[in-house]
Amino acid sequence: MLDHIKLERFTAFENLNMTFSPGLNVIIGENGCGKTHLLKLVYAACDVSVNQKGFAEKINRVFLPSGDQIGRLVKRRSASSTGTVEIQRTVLVAGKPKPLSLRLSLSNHTKEPAKATLSGAYKQWQEHPLTSVYIPVKDMMANAPGFRSLYSLRHIHFEEVYADIIDRAFLGTLKGPIDKDRKRLLEILQQSMAGKVVTRNEEFFLKSPQGELEFTLLAEGIRKLGLLWVLIQNGTLLDGSVLLWDEPEANLNPKLMRTVVQILIELQRLGVQVFVTTHNYNLLKEFDLQCQAQDRVLFHSLFRDADQEIQVASFSHYDDLQPNAIDDTLGELADREIRQQMGDLGQ
């Protein structure tokens, strides 16, 4: 489980300290407040524990700065400056919790990832692999055929999260029977998408009593449920793994949000650490309605302060979430409707 992230002069952040829930983390904020950047950093930190790649290299591949110059990720200033990323997690060593941290430091003149300075317990970090999944906003399931081979052979301008999610979806099934908890989640998804997912020649199909439908013919919302089904079915999302999902609401009918949130909360209860960003009131409200007292949830609001620097405020209860950019926008809509109904009365 990841505990904390500290950023100094990195991308949009001047100085940010954010503590995570070991369960569910729901992140809101206006565009440009760095929600996706946070998710990518957390993902990179998780992924290097498994893939043995360098932390700087992974960050470069998921952010894809121009010319692969990692120094471009340092917050822009007129003068030279350095940026740092520090991520902390707790691992169990001989049954006892032990904090580990990974710290990357680079200057805006750093051109290659290898020149960035890595410190902290990198070796121990890699001795404790942390399985993670990053689901990007754009669906990639329908584009899977041939994408992986193309990505590995050619230099195509896609952030690595797109190739990684396809790799995760193509992982083979775990040996042994599916445990009853995962089976229950799969059944919930099957009910919502009226079928289950099968793979043939790098192509995904939704198999239902009516036949098999290729993913390119499916609504994007159903593809999302299909991806979740695959990740649960192939054992990627197990106890101790990390799921990062950027704007699950994209192309998702509000009716399906109930199912998506139900699955995310259930995964959290099964020991998956979940990070979700959202701009959507329905999705946010579903978390509020479905979370129970025993659920470990934090609502994080990223916002710009009076100096236009990004800050974070975190709350255990949705009702306390402030500032709430989603609610504020709805409030402005409500104001306009009130004016429409009431004319100039009360002015």
């Binding site: 009131y281 409200k285 129970q292 209860h317 009702d319 989603i326 609610d327 504020d328 709805l330 409030g331 809509l333 409500a334 104001d335 409707e337 009130i338 004016r339 109904q341 009431m342 009365l345 009360g346 002015q347």
Partner: protein
């Protein structure tokens, strides 16, 4: 003119009258007297050219609607069911109050447009949904195919933040 209801104090400068509609005190000039038969909104405000019916529900105060402090899942469900009945309650309060005022034929309230303001401590996102449902159910405007006049001019559901933002001239504070 100041008037209080359900833990809030409202101020309506320039109002002709503002009073608790369902007054239980027999000696009061606004004694209702039909509480056993008719529902009632909390406040009636007579403005020079408009009448306001105001209903207040502060969900954070009474236990009935306080979901966060519900001690169990079942308790939460029961409390949410109560919220679902709220719309029907709000509709009947409006209609009964409208009928009462029609029968009362009070001075200062001759055929002025009636506007229904429901002050509920709901999320901003739920206000529009509730407003729309209420407008359809009251119903607002000349809704019936044979109607020549409307039952109400407008209806809005708003929370205290929206009240303060939309009605700067009508001060609102918790008491």
């Amino acid at each position: 003119m100041k008037v209080q209801a359900d833990g809030f104090e409202f101020e309506f400068p320039g109002a002709l009258d503002a009073f608790v509609f369902d007054d239980k005190l027999a000696s009061s000039p606004h004694y209702h007297g039909l509480s056993h038969a008719m529902k009632a909104v909390d406040l009636v405000v007579e403005l020079p050219a408009d009448t306001l019916f105001i209903e207040v529900k502060d969900f954070h105060a009474p236990d009935d609607y306080d979901f966060r402090r519900a001690i169990s899942r079942d308790a939460q469900t029961v409390r949410r069911q109560r919220l679902n009945h709220l719309r029907d309650v709000l509709v009947h309060k409006y209609r009964d109050t409208w009928l009462y005022r029609w029968a009362e034929h009070a001075a200062g309230a001759p055929d002025k447009p009636v506007r229904y303001l429901c002050l509920l401590t709901l999320d901003n996102g739920l206000l529009g949904v509730m407003s729309k449902e209420l407008r359809q159910c009251l119903p607002v405007g000349c809704a019936g195919p044979r109607w020549q006049r409307g039952l109400g001019q407008s209806c809005v559901v708003l929370n205290p933040q929206r009240w303060s933002s939309a009605f700067p001239a009508w001060a609102l504070r918790r008491v």
